[in-house]
Every structure is written in structure tokens, then in C-alpha cells.
């Protein structure tokens, strides 16, 4: 079984482009269905995971092919269950403290809230994120084409994390000792969904500076979703990521601060927030994919500076400029801070001319020590 699982992972766990321009894991389709059926029954997730995903995808694609033949539907549609354009199609699943994804369906689009506050928070957070992208940036869901939004809550036991697996969001409940339920912070929900937007647009490599930009974009849009939900201006916002997520015994206010990177926590168990605010304190490390959650403090702070200099609602001008860069088609997958910064100047000029916006963005990058070309 070891040999089989090794080979399955080696051959199938790559990544590639989807038909609609997105980027998601690729799993083998050359394995005969009866073998996939058997593998999907295996106890080992390394074996059954890829097999089950392949079976699901195969079934979906067969259905699409049939639809195309029968009713002439476009083959590349992602609006599988036919939501109206401009309306979200949310599904929240419950992993029941296990690790099989997506888990049992807990709440679908339009269904009344149930007893589980975690499910309801995830559902509301998906809705808030969908609304910001649609109303402020004219984007219909994370792929721009109404992609259904799926989230799984209650993942694993005492699980101190939330992540985006390329297809959906996953939230742990926290262990109660250090972290609480990851759905308590709407910016965390927005952060994970923004990883989806990045995946379908600039698809920044998740390593080094491009990885830190990927992380920063998620923090920026996560913060904007929180501010949008609360109706806050840049001055009113706390610019914290993950406020309310730390258990009461932890000395800290959040996981990251865009206003003052490096000050979110300082705790006996957790240590001190390692984020730099400027290039002077840039951290060179191979860990954490080359410090993607550390050096994201630098572009995070640049966004904060630009947004507070401009004032008002941060999503209206600073957010628009960042969104234009992310989706404009010029940002390379392996972009460095300088590349991103340079494109924000270009985007500011293109949308607002030689005015306050260009000035604010230029000064922001200067202050964090990122060169623009």
C-alpha cells in the first residue's frame, strides 16, 4: 500500500490550469475507474483523497458533457447549479471534527440559520465577501463567473488553523487554549476567499516575496471585508487580522496588525509577532514557504498607509487600486514587492490620473522601503 500511495501522490498531486483560467490541483484521470473506486474506499487519506476527488471531478465532467450534448449548454460553465448571475451560491459543510472534505452539508444557499453559530458565521462571512467583490469591484464570485462558495467548519480536533485547499475554505475550531473558533473573525473568512480570487487571477506563487504578496492580498481584502461589514472608514478601522481569535489567556490582540506590524501579540507560549513593517527588517528564512506570513507585513503596511492617507472607505480607492493590480493581467506569478508596487502606481494613474491617489500610493511604498520603477 505504501508503494501505491507514494506513486499516486507523485503522479497526481501536481497543479495546473483549469479550463476557466483558475489554478487548482490536478489529479490523475488515467487510473481506471474500478481502481479509483477501490482506492477511494481505502482508510489512508493519502490514498483515498486524490481518488475521491478524481471520481467527483469525473462525475461532474461526465454530467457537463451530457448536458452539452442534450441541451447545448456551454461546456465550460462553472455555474453548475444555476445560480442567478450576481447572487451567491453558498454551502457550508460540517466535518464533524474529522478530516474528510467537504463533510456533511449543514446549510445551503437561502436556507434559514440553524443552531450552529459556527455554520451561521461562515455562511454570513461568505455572503459579506461575495457582496464586497460584487458591489464594489463588479466581480461575480471568486472566479468572476459565479463559482459556488464552499466552506467546511469543525475540521479536525482542536485544530488551530484555517486554510484554502484550492477549491474551498476550511476552518478549525481552535483548541480553546491558544486559538478560538476561526470563523469568529470575518476578516479570516475574507482572507481565505481572497486566496481563491488570487488563484483565479494573478495566481501568485506561494513562496518568498510573491508568496508574501499572496498573503498580503488576502489580508488586505480580509480587512476590507471587515470594514465593509462594519461600515468603517480607514480612520475608524483597527487594521487587525484575526482580532478575537486568540484565547483569553494569550497576551495579544490579534494575529497581525497592518497598522503596526510586529505588535499584534507578545506571549510566553506564542512568542512575539515577527512581522516587519519595512524592508529594513525584511526576514530571510526558508520556513513558512520563505516567510510568507512574516514579510507580508511590509505590503500590508503600505496598503494601510495609502488607505489612511486617502481617508474615507478604504475599499473605494486604495482597495480599487490593489484590485486593479491583482486582476489586471500584468502581475506575474513570481512578482516581487517592487513589481507589485510599480503596478499600483500605474493602476492609480490609469484610474485616477496624477492626483492624490498616485501621491498616496507612491509615498506609502517609499515609507516601507520598497522601490518602484
Amino acid at each position: 500500500m505504501v508503494a501505491v500511495s507514494d506513486r499516486l501522490v507523485t503522479e497526481c498531486n501536481g497543479s495546473g490550469m483549469t479550463t476557466n483560467g483558475g489554478h487548482r490541483p490536478v489529479f490523475c484521470t488515467i487510473v481506471p475507474p474500478h481502481v479509483l473506486d477501490r482506492l477511494s474506499q481505502a482508510g489512508d487519506p493519502l490514498v483515498h483523497g486524490p481518488a475521491r476527488r478524481t471520481l467527483r471531478r469525473d462525475a461532474y465532467e461526465r454530467t457537463q458533457r451530457r448536458l452539452t450534448t442534450v441541451v447545448g449548454a456551454p461546456a465550460l460553465t462553472t455555474r453548475a447549479a444555476a445560480a442567478e448571475p450576481g447572487t451567491p451560491q453558498r454551502t457550508v459543510y460540517d466535518a464533524g471534527h474529522g478530516t474528510d472534505l467537504p463533510g456533511e452539508k449543514a446549510r445551503g444557499e437561502g436556507e434559514e440559520p440553524g443552531q450552529d453559530a459556527t455554520v451561521n458565521r461562515a455562511y454570513a462571512g461568505l455572503g459579506a465577501t461575495f457582496e464586497l467583490f460584487l458591489k464594489e469591484f463588479g466581480r461575480d464570485s471568486i472566479d468572476g463567473s459565479g463559482l459556488p462558495l464552499d466552506a467546511t467548519v469543525h475540521y479536525d480536533q482542536d485544530y488551530n488553523n484555517a486554510f484554502w485547499n484550492g477549491e474551498q475554505m476550511v476552518f478549525g475550531d481552535g483548541d480553546g487554549e491558544i486559538f478560538l473558533d476561526f470563523t469568529v473573525a470575518v476578516d479570516v473568512i475574507g482572507h481565505e476567499l481572497a486566496h481563491g480570487v488570487t488563484q483565479y487571477t494573478a495566481n501568485l506563487d506561494y513562496f518568498g516575496q510573491s508568496g508574501a504578496l499572496n498573503e498580503s492580498v488576502s489580508d488586505v481584502f480580509g480587512a476590507l471585508i471587515k470594514q465593509y461589514t462594519l461600515g468603517q472608514t480607514a480612520e475608524e478601522a483597527d487594521w487587525l487580522i484575526g482580532a478575537g481569535l486568540l484565547a483569553p489567556r494569550v497576551t495579544g490582540v490579534a494575529l497581525r496588525s497592518m497598522k503596526e506590524p510586529g505588535t499584534a501579540y507578545d506571549d510566553d507560549v506564542l512568542g512575539k509577532d515577527p512581522q516587519p513593517a519595512t524592508m529594513d527588517d525584511y526576514v530571510r528564512t526558508g520556513r513558512d514557504n520563505g516567510g510568507v506570513h512574516i514579510n507580508s507585513g511590509i505590503p500590508n503596511h503600505a496598503f494601510y498607509l495609502a488607505a489612511t492617507t486617502l481617508g474615507g472607505h478604504a475599499w473605494e480607492r486604495a482597495g480599487q487600486i490593489w484590485y486593479d493590480v491583482l486582476t489586471g493581467g500584468e502581475l506575474d506569478q513570481d512578482a516581487q514587492f517592487t513589481d507589485f508596487a510599480t503596478l499600483t502606481l500605474k493602476a492609480a494613474r490609469a484610474r485616477y490620473g496624477e492626483g492624490a491617489e498616485l501621491n498616496a500610493v507612491t509615498k506609502a511604498w517609499e515609507r516601507v522601503g520598497v522601490r518602484t520603477l
Binding site: V9, D44, G49, N161, F163, W164, N165, G242, V292, H293
Partner: protein, 88 residues
């Protein structure tokens, strides 16, 4: 047998590591079996992982393998959980 686990990445980007020395432990054979199965399914180079996912290195008596959420085997998940919980 010395079993070390290091967890990096994750939404918070906070690193954790812990170690269990099984010598003299009543449940040593259980640890050994779990560690061997976790090692056998690991990789010699770190997998790409997913955004905000945890990455793990498991080192057993100097042999190191890598794995990452969410594609862990049950044995890897169990070993990682026990070492981070019970280890020092």
C-alpha cells in the same frame, strides 16, 4: 527512539516543535509502529501544500520526511498530534 515534529506555516505563521524520546516508556512499541508508518508515507522533499496550510517535518532518529495539510495519512496526523501534545 527520538521522534521530533516541527510544524510551520498556517494562517498565523507560528512555528511549533516538540520531541518525544520513547526510551523507557511503557508505550514505546506503539510509538515505534506509528512513527514507522508515518515515515513510510512521507516525502523526502517538502510538498507544495496549500495557502495557509500547515507544513510538517517529522524526524525519527535522524531520518526526516515532509508532509503538509490537508494530505496527511491517518498515521501522520496521529503522530503529529501526539508529539505536539505530549512532547517537550
Amino acid at each position: 527512539m527520538r521522534i521530533q515534529v516541527r510544524r510551520t506555516g498556517g494562517f498565523a505563521g507560528i512555528e511549533r516543535q516538540a520531541e518525544v524520546d520513547t526510551s523507557g516508556r511503557a508505550d514505546a512499541s506503539e510509538w515505534h509502529a506509528l512513527a514507522e508508518r508515518a515515515l513510510a508515507a512521507g516525502r523526502t522533499t517538502p510538498p507544495a501544500g496549500v495557502p495557509d496550510g500547515f507544513s510538517y517535518t517529522i524526524t525519527v532518529d535522524g531520518r526526516t520526511v515532509h508532509c503538509a495539510d490537508p494530505e496527511l495519512t491517518e498515521e501522520q496526523r496521529a503522530l503529529i498530534r501526539r508529539v505536539l501534545k505530549e512532547g517537550a
